[in-house]
């Protein structure tokens, strides 16, 4: 593990909307690379040693929670699991995720967006008899394959990369966005959710919903959890187009 140390050049977007008179700008920082260094480590290093005002969000720093998505050299990705050694020329340009309210520097407000999304698509199990279930009794059975399929679609960590990567979403504010379709598809295949196709149509059957998707596939290509956006949006589109 003895590589030659090199100096990394970070070009970082800086802007604090809370601060009167502050203007968006790019600032360059230099960091000595260490073996195994991730952008998480580097940014903390910059904050501790060079600029304590630098804002960014990390929570799990393990690629699990989705807090740290930002645009790394033109690619929206989870910064915590991005090794600096990946960048051969040692130049790393960091921008906050576009399409979200900017909190400051690299930190954006994805929380209110995803809460609104969940409310809009009613991201919960719909079953009018749910409250009558007796939890002392055996749970309702589920086919093991169906359970696995649902899990595969539920792996979204609400990082927002697919929202930022979608030009449709960015042009049209009311467009639901890929994470929303993914969540809805997850409920659509869940036998516990008793919503009918008509009811799903009420949620996404318009140009702000699935018919507004122009199949740009930025979502598919940049989702850090590799969720199957293309097939799921197609699945919903077909399902919704068939509704009478």
């Amino acid at each position: 593990m003895s590589e030659q140390e090199r100096i990394l050049k970070f070009q970082i977007f800086r802007y604090n909307p809370q601060r009167k008179g502050d203007k968006p700008r790019m600032v360059t920082y230099e960091v000595t690379e260490a073996p195994g260094m991730t952008i998480f480590i580097a940014l903390n290093d910059i904050r501790e040693k060079q600029d304590p005002s630098l804002q960014f969000d990390f929570v799990c720093r393990a690629g699990i929670c989705g807090s740290c998505a930002m645009v790394v050299n033109g690619r929206p990705d989870l910064a915590c699991r991005t090794l600096t050694s990946k960048f051969e020329d040692g130049e790393i340009k960091l921008l906050p995720l576009p399409g979200f309210e900017l909190i400051g520097d690299l930190s954006v407000n994805t929380g209110n967006f995803f809460r609104a999304m969940s409310e809009r698509i009613e991201s919960w199990i719909h079953d009018q008899y749910a409250d009558e279930v007796n939890y002392d009794q055996l749970e309702e059975r589920m086919d093991p394959d169906v359970a696995d399929e649902i899990y595969e679609l539920e792996r979204c960590v609400e990082c927002g990369a697919c929202i930022s990567a979608c030009a449709t979403k960015r042009m049209r504010d009311d467009f639901l966005g890929a994470a929303g379709f993914m969540r809805l598809a997850r409920f659509a295949i869940d036998p516990r959710d008793k919503r009918s196709d008509e009811e799903f149509y009420d949620v996404i059957g318009d140009d702000d919903g699935v018919f507004g998707c122009m199949t740009l596939l930025g979502c598919e290509d940049y989702c850090p959890k590799d969720l199957p956006h293309q097939t799921q949006i197609a699945y919903l589109r077909k399902k919704m187009a068939m509704v009478r």
């Binding site: 645009v71 033109g74 690619r75 929206p76 921008l95 576009p98 990567a165 030009a167 960015r170 042009m171 049209r172 008509e198 149509y201 009420d202 059957g205 318009d206 140009d207 919903g209 018919f211 998707c213 122009m214 199949t215 740009l216 596939l217 930025g218 290509d221 940049y222 199957p228 293309q230 097939t231 197609a234 699945y235 589109r237 077909k238 919704m240 187009a241 509704v243 009478r244």
Partner: protein, 257 residues
């Protein structure tokens, strides 16, 4: 007594679904039509006779005793395509950036991410926009001169009618637009997904690129042939191609038999 208003269960409009289907349907028909169209027009590469044969067949010449055909058939074909073309264009334009701000966002996004499929869409929008004008001109001419299709008259139109720049632009636009459009259709509706959707996508993209290159080459060759014929025929603009070679061919065939 209190009065109650019973709200009828308002059904959410199914229009967006229908329009989306219409957009894809017209796109699909136009896309497939254009492949056929290019193959037909491409027949000029194999000679005036071949092209003439194709043109006459399109005029349903095989149904008439005289062999002159019914240009009205072409007229109807063009009307149909023209209608689809307009419907498709109108549906497509809904997706365009509606104002400068949206356009700026789109460009900004493309610059920041440089994402292939997003760029492809932009190409589609731009080519669609161009085709709306260029294609309309072509279709209008075809609509109004249904009987004017033939090796000489077409070539004259290309050269002496100064249509070649328009055709060149139209050709590039339609091949890019149609190829991307058909690929997008597969993605959009999940066709040809196979076992591994991601691998299939790569394959389809490759196929799309190859087809676009093939049809562009075909189109450019055809256009060149038209230009050559047109230049040679510059002095005799308006002269119709006589079935001379067609007769010869028939003789040929008889001889062989």
């Amino acid at each position: 007594m209190e009065s109650y208003i019973i709200e009828s269960n308002k059904k959410k409009s199914r229009l967006p679904a229908r329009l989306d289907l219409a957009q894809s349907g017209t796109g699909l028909i136009l896309g497939l039509f254009m492949w056929v169209h290019m193959l037909l027009v491409g027949s000029i590469i194999f000679g005036k006779a071949a092209f003439n044969f194709v043109a006459k067949t399109m005029e349903l010449a095989f149904l008439s005793d005289t062999g002159h055909g019914y240009p009205i058939a072409v007229f109807f074909a063009v009307s149909t395509i023209f209608t689809l073309f307009i419907i498709h264009a109108l549906l497509g334009m809904r997706k365009f950036p509606i104002n400068w701000k949206q356009h700026r966002i789109m460009r900004d996004q493309m610059q920041m991410m440089n994402h292939t499929d997003t760029n492809l869409w932009y190409i589609q929008a731009v080519t669609g926009f161009i085709m709306f004008f260029a294609g309309s001109v072509h279709l209008y001419i075809m609509l109004t001169n249904p009987a004017s299709i033939g090796p000489y008259m077409s070539a004259d139109r290309v050269v002496s009618g100064n249509m070649w720049p328009l055709y060149l632009i139209l050709l590039i636009c339609v091949e890019l637009h149609g190829g991307i459009g058909l690929y997008r259709l597969c993605m959009k509706w999940g066709w040809f997904t196979g076992k591994d959707a991601r691998k299939s996508r790569e394959k389809l993209k490759k196929l799309k690129n190859r087809l676009t290159i093939f049809f562009l080459t075909l189109g450019i060759l055809a256009l060149l042939v038209f230009v050559v014929i047109g230049i040679k025929h510059r002095d005799k603009v308006g002269e119709k191609y006589e079935k001379l070679s067609a007769v010869v061919e028939q003789v040929d065939i008889k001889e062989r038999v």
